[in-house]
Symmetry: C2
Subunit: 590 residues, 2 copies
Amino acid sequence: MRSHYCGALRKEHVGQEITLCGWVHRRRDHGGVIFLDVRDRDGITQVVFDPDREESFATADSVRNEYVIQLTGIVRDRPEGTINKEMPTGEIEVLGHSLIVLNKAETPPFQLDEHQSVGEDIRLKYRYVDLRRPEMLAKLRLRSKITTAIRNHLDGEGFLDIETPILTRATPEGARDYLVPSRTHANNFFALPQSPQLFKQLLMVSGMDRYYQIAKCFRDEDLRADRQPEFTQIDIEASFVSEEDIMSITEGMIRNLFKETLDVDLGAFPRMPYSEAMEKYGSDKPDMRIPLELVDVADLMTEVEFKVFSGPAKDPKGRVTALRLPKGAELTRKQIDEYTKYVGIYGAKGLAYIKVNNKDDLEEGLQAPIVKFLPIDVRKAVLERTGAENGDIIFFGADSAKVVTEALGALRCKLGEDMDLYTCAWAPLWVVDFPMFEETSDGGLTAIHHPFTAPSCTPEELKANPAAALSKAYDMVLNGCELGGGSIRIHDQTMQQAVFEILGISEEEQAEKFGFLLDALKFGAPPHGGLAFGLDRLVMLMTGSDSIREVIAFPKTQSASCMMTDAPGEVSSKQLRELNIKLRKSATEE
Amino acid sequence: MRSHYCGALRKEHVGQEITLCGWVHRRRDHGGVIFLDVRDRDGITQVVFDPDREESFATADSVRNEYVIQLTGIVRDRPEGTINKEMPTGEIEVLGHSLIVLNKAETPPFQLDEHQSVGEDIRLKYRYVDLRRPEMLAKLRLRSKITTAIRNHLDGEGFLDIETPILTRATPEGARDYLVPSRTHANNFFALPQSPQLFKQLLMVSGMDRYYQIAKCFRDEDLRADRQPEFTQIDIEASFVSEEDIMSITEGMIRNLFKETLDVDLGAFPRMPYSEAMEKYGSDKPDMRIPLELVDVADLMTEVEFKVFSGPAKDPKGRVTALRLPKGAELTRKQIDEYTKYVGIYGAKGLAYIKVNNKDDLEEGLQAPIVKFLPIDVRKAVLERTGAENGDIIFFGADSAKVVTEALGALRCKLGEDMDLYTCAWAPLWVVDFPMFEETSDGGLTAIHHPFTAPSCTPEELKANPAAALSKAYDMVLNGCELGGGSIRIHDQTMQQAVFEILGISEEEQAEKFGFLLDALKFGAPPHGGLAFGLDRLVMLMTGSDSIREVIAFPKTQSASCMMTDAPGEVSSKQLRELNIKLRKSATEE
């Protein structure tokens, strides 16, 4: 139906007769002729209809924005002075000969360039209009290019694309499952997978050797800004591999992806132990674009009279740390109050600081309410340790280690963003040497990754001191976002049972939930490991989007509904009967 | 952990030190040395351990089938007389120097070469063992190769890979939906998609122009041998296209796929109107490998005394047809009885036939109980029309058109298979010119494809005589299987509403179920169309498998359960409460 895409026309086409199909992006009536900007997937071309051709002129006169048209005409140079260097097709225009309206369009609920001023709900309700915006089109195109590049890379590395089930059993990731009532097995339910974790491990036990899948995963959680009920994971697993192998394969994949799609060379990814990440950056996914570091000063504070500092400094579970912001002495009282409020989100009860006006005058050169509580030698040691210069500000966190780490880690990122401290556009990083477990609020232990992660020690060592055990897990971090996480898995049944025990999973529960995995480990399981990337977040970062909703064709809202189709919806009582379920009465009726 | 895959070793590696990882496929003790056949994804290599190396010999002595091992050794020529030309690695062996057991294995529930003698349930319960069979591995590898080839082809044709939601609204395909209770919207349910049909149409309204997705689809139906609750569809849609465009793109894709993965040249696909397919082959998906045709003879039978023939011959809804099987006169009474039983499955009340012993003797040369009921001139006309030769048999179907078509169409395929009449290995075909609607048992009309299929006429013509309207639909058929089906879709709101009306969908129901589609058609919908292939069936055909379960890593049984994970399973009452549903009492309790 067409000879060219609109966006493809250039000077070299001048003189050719072409046929275009697309949408009327804009219609102007100027000097007795009609200009139509015609838009398709590839771009926009200006088409001119003059009154000499009565029929097509009349049609051109009748069209409105977003009409779908087909036209034939001759490509010609734009007249001097009307060339538009901003547009790829800006040197030419098409003189229209014939014009057919393929479909009319009512005035759309919002104009494409007005999307900023309409709410996201309207954009999502009329998503098919919203997606017409060249910016949205570009995002979905890049997403497609990204998955293609990833698939080609993994295919080249010998990975097999294998599908795992969507209708499956409750998975052990710990979030809430979406459930699907079974009709053929009354009172039983499928769960939608939170990840294909166990299936990919079983594929390794099957000898598939190298597996990948771009897999839909599901979590019925209350949604944060960057979460969706269904999301997409680049899921990778290989056998007879070490951490090094998986990290090298996946780092190569991401490096290659950035080179191929964005022409960005990410270089080799540095590695950082989890402990260092938490200590220096207050995060297990440090944003390495920001040249700020936390510096612990608890040892300096144990004897000061200021209880806010000395208390946590003396508490083995406390932490006192300093964060120096170069040139931060310029911050106003109001700005500091804002940051105090900000760290409050993370549980910090305040935000102590020192402005360094003159570091050589320890009596008068330091400005802050807390200075008076700190002996001169402590002031000196703090300045030295933080490397403070005149004009800097030093923030302090003093509380439980958890609160200080989270609050100052977040403050570091906030300052980096507010002050535009970024030293580079892309800062990838591997975080390694995670602990196996962390303490739960009730004093038990929970797996930091998942219970199939292999520890770096023997089962005996693990049982003797589980809290100290490190795991063979690794996270890939980019610009402070976790792109993906993975580990070498447990392939030994004894080790798997040891981990289950430490997590307080009874033998009965093990058999009930993971019997098939424990069975599989008995029948010849190879050493194996893998990694899973969050595709939506990766695309979000690569397209510079604010939300993963921007890179998903038909996303759900924060309350997990689809504005366009109105899903979820009511179903008939016949359907419920077939599934052997009924609705509960609402709370008020009961 | 290894230098080579087992299957990769050849004569050229002789003299090299290599490291292999894999499973002990077989262990033999022969002439004082131990032979291990070591298996990995790529094949099997024979490794020899001799007693000179005590440690590795002792380890080799201790291993059992399916142990996971790592070994190092030197590749050497096999001694004269022990070369195995059947094995790709059969010219060499490895002299093992060191051997490590990476994981032990209990005796597997079945030996890999014994799978035939164990039930499919056991194979599915221990699927990770079953998948180790080189034959299963090869199937999943080919599946991966197929999806990769398809993706690369469509990518090259400018199709964008775009994901559509799994948690969505009840879809209109007509089968039963799987439902997912919503926690955040009490008493509402998501449905899992039976296909991404409406989403892909909306992507066309969005201007995506060319979309594809290898998409999971779901149907909660009672399963036949070649159905699964979840299946995979190669889903394609394009804008500003005709039937020719879609057929040419997808035919090219399949032809390219066969060439690339099987080295088979399918040639150009012939096209056949639906009416011809039903008339000559008794099927909308004729198996063109079989050189048998139905020949209608109703016009010859209207006046015969034999009511079984004359009744349907005079009934406008009846059909009388003949099927000649060359050399079929050799069929025994018992065989003919079997075929009579077979057509009974399709509702035929009997299977009349004539054995042609001597076509020149119309009195005595034809053998069959029915011959006496047919006048000589009718006998003559039947022989002429069917082209019968001496030694042939002619079967007859006489009943309602529906029963005759289905029964004789099925008989044709059965005879083709039983007599091995296939004239070629692959017979692709396009079936075109489908009717828009077919009659339901209650005299209404139902869409043959789906209600979004465009008719070949105007809305007015459609309304005037819907039963006669043809659609712009096309099915791709291979060897009697429907590989895929598609159509040009309705892009005009008036036409869409006309079709809904004919289908008896009230305006209220239209708004409730398809409001977002009707809306979208108002705001500038381009002409568009597409096609969807059943990937599982395609892979089944291409791998020569009997069932789609053979080409799915973790399939469900016919009662829609997973033998391995025991899904579906019970869930806690807390989970049900959160979803605001409860279980009904069982029928007996109520």
